[in-house]
């Protein structure tokens, strides 16, 4: 096991958060966790197919960043996209239905787990190939700037948040897009979720400079590292980056140090990661940690938190029923959606 990086310190008690806002974050993290647990159950029961990549353990990143956005901002994800889509507001029932391959799914059953889209929620997609979402996110950010500066629409201040993994930060599209984003001062957040592994490739074995946030400096872009198991810390760096982007001051690279609590996908035996490493990170469960924070700061009591969990459990159960009862796409529509006119 490689020496763990020292996590950046963040003094949460000093951060201000209103009780409703705290509960909103908590609810979003619980939604992500419960949704993924249900997916695992359904996959092993043979109700869900293909490659399914779960997000357990990384919830603080999705909630901390996306809940710092406005609803008209854009979100771009990878194949590990269920929870980003949920945080972006895509209803759980439509995500679940998509995983069941149903017509009511957010991608009409044509996409599946790795291809979640919702134009209504400015969810630009789940992209299944490494790095290919980064340029697409860059394009959405360029579009905001184009509307503001070429078309003179002063209300065009939308920000794009682009998520990807540590392994992906070794791909050319990452560097190419950092360059263009900084060059043109585009309103974008590059959020690297460094969970230490790219399937079976340990981060240190794949990169000459494991501290990814430092790669921003050569592009003249702010790069920050953050404890990705602490939603308050993620939220703080995200808010700052969003404000900068919205003000026209350009992009930020955020490296969130995090960990996935399950294998790479549900098909991964997960034999390479040591027990000690897993236990060390499990002990830092972002949801437990945030619960502790909310209670300590008297922002919520046990009863309120339980209410949230119960409510979300009901939502997941409803989503499951919805997905199961929804119709499959009609075979008559096999060719639909190839061209814009279909």
């Amino acid at each position: 096991m490689v020496q763990e990086r020292t996590l950046p310190q963040f003094h949460a008690p000093a951060a201000q958060i209103a009780p409703e806002e705290g509960l909103r974050l908590y609810e979003d993290m619980i939604l992500g966790r419960f949704f993924e647990d249900k997916c695992a159950e359904m996959y092993y029961r043979g109700k869900m197919f293909g490659f399914v990549h779960l997000y357990n353990g990384q919830e603080a990143v999705s909630s901390g960043v996306i809940k710092s956005l406005r609803s008209d901002d854009y979100v771009c994800s990878t194949y590990r996209d269920h929870v980003h889509a949920l945080s972006a507001g895509v209803p759980a029932k439509n995500v679940m239905a998509e995983l069941f391959g149903k017509e009511t799914g957010c991608s009409k059953g044509r996409g599946g787990s790795m291809h979640l889209f919702s134009s209504e929620h400015n969810m630009l997609g789940g992209f299944a190939f490494i790095g290919e979402g980064i340029p697409v996110a860059l394009g959405a950010a360029f579009q905001s700037r184009y509307r503001r500066d070429a078309l003179g629409d002063s209300s065009a201040d939308q920000v794009t948040a682009c998520f990807f993994g540590d392994g992906t930060s070794n791909n050319g599209q990452f560097f190419e897009c950092l360059n263009m984003a900084a060059l043109w001062k585009l309103p974008i957040l590059f959020v690297v979720e460094n969970n230490k592994w790219a399937i079976g490739m340990a981060h240190e074995r794949a990169t000459s400079q494991p501290e990814i946030y430092k790669k921003a400096a050569v592009f003249g872009m702010p790069g920050v590292e953050v404890d990705g198991m602490d939603v308050m810390a993620v939220r703080a760096v995200a808010q700052e980056a969003v404000a900068r982007a919205r003000a026209g001051e350009g992009p930020t690279l955020i490296e969130a140090l995090t960990y996935r609590f399950r294998g790479h996908s549900l098909a991964d035996p997960d034999e390479l990661r040591s027990k000690a490493e897993k236990e060390a990170w499990l002990a830092r469960d972002p949801i437990k940690r945030f619960e502790g924070y909310l209670l300590e700061q008297n922002l919520a009591d046990e009863g309120t938190l339980k209410e949230v969990r119960d409510r979300i459990q009901t939502r997941i159960d409803d989503a499951l029923t919805f997905a199961e009862e929804s119709p499959e796409p009609s075979p008559d529509d096999l060719y639909k959606y190839i061209f814009a006119e279909d």
């Binding site: 996409g111 291809h115 134009s119 290919e132 394009g139 360029f142 263009m180």
Partner: protein, 327 residues
């Protein structure tokens, strides 16, 4: 009527469409300050500014993906491939995202974008700068593929491509940029999905596109002298193919020769033959003949290069052979 060079016809198309719709913008290498490597975007930078004529770094896959993202969110990008061959580096964004994303997203997004630029075998440019990517891209679902061949159709087709709500790969040919033609003074648009009957005839159908149209036209002059009457069709749309026009011609001539500049293996002609077999086998009086480039990297040496692509004499001979065998 104004005599116009092909590259200027393309430039006019872009200029007119940018003037008509302010969501249309151009991006690519050296398209702005430099005016494009074949001057197709000359002076547009001064007219429309640096965001609407965007000089990109040399990062084909990433700026193509960026155009996809811009198209998904409501803009209408026109990518210039400095040379279409460079877009091999953008294969992923063109195939996965430009081509397939609309379907994969269940119709959530449409991707109105044009990817245009010079392709084909030029004059001793060597293998890498002499590529014909239309054959490589034809299997990608969701893409439209168009090849222009004259100043008139170049202008009208490019305007149609820019207005189309789908991703259009728009092939120009390095050796055709200086063709001249009188263009109408009024605005016109040429439909993307219609083949052009270059010369009506009854003996044999010649299907061709891009620069090979001109090789065919040259061959036809010789054939006419010999009293032959071939029908020449410029496919224009390589995907989808215009089978209304192709089929009507086959029903008339019952004989087909395909003349293409892409390589034989996996080429446009290969696909056309398969489709003709599916649709019009009973109409054929002879097997379809295909004249294609050799299956080799285009050699630098001028003589070898000439041997690599189809020449007018070969087309003449092929037509004569086919007609001679007529029963």
């Amino acid at each position: 009527m104004a005599e116009t060079l092909l590259f200027n016809a393309l430039r006019e198309a872009i200029d007119e469409e940018m003037g008509r719709d302010d969501t249309v913008f151009v991006l690519g290498e050296d398209v702005g300050v430099y005016g494009g490597s074949y001057k197709v975007t000359k002076d547009l930078y001064n007219k429309y500014g640096e965001l609407r004529v965007l000089d990109t770094p040399i990062a084909e896959n990433s700026f193509t993906g960026m155009a996809v993202g811009a198209a998904m969110t409501g803009l209408r990008p026109i990518i210039e491939g400095m040379n279409m061959g460079f877009l091999l580096l953008a294969f992923n964004q063109i195939a996965n995202n430009a081509g397939m994303l609309r379907y994969t997203s269940g119709g959530n997004y449409k991707i109105p974008m044009v990817i245009r630029g010079p392709g084909g075998v030029g004059r001793q440019l060597g293998a890498e700068h002499s590529q014909r990517l239309e054959a490589y891209f034809q299997a990608v679902p969701g893409l439209k593929i168009v090849a222009c061949s004259t100043p008139y159709n170049a202008k009208g087709l490019l305007k149609a491509a820019i207005r189309d709500d789908n991703p259009v790969l728009f092939f120009e040919h390095v050796l055709l940029y200086n063709l001249k033609e009188d263009l109408p003074n009024h605005e016109y648009v040429v439909p993307l999905d219609k083949a052009e009957i270059v010369r009506p005839g009854k003996d044999v159908t010649i299907l061709t596109y891009s620069r090979m149209r001109h090789h065919v036209t040259q061959a036809v002059k010789g054939l006419e002298k010999k009293g032959l009457d071939p029908e020449v069709i410029d496919l224009i749309s390589l995907k989808p193919l215009d089978f209304d026009t192709i089929g009507a011609s086959i029903k008339k001539t019952h004989r087909v020769i395909i003349v293409e500049e892409c390589m034989k293996t996996g080429g446009i002609g290969a696909e056309i033959i398969a489709s003709i077999n599916d649709r019009y086998f009973d109409e054929l009086d002879a097997p379809v003949v295909r004249l294609s480039s050799q299956d080799i990297p285009t050699p630098y040496n001028g003589k070898l290069e000439t041997l690599t692509i189809v020449q007018p004499k070969q087309i003449e001979a092929a037509v004569e052979n086919m007609v001679a065998l007529k029963v």
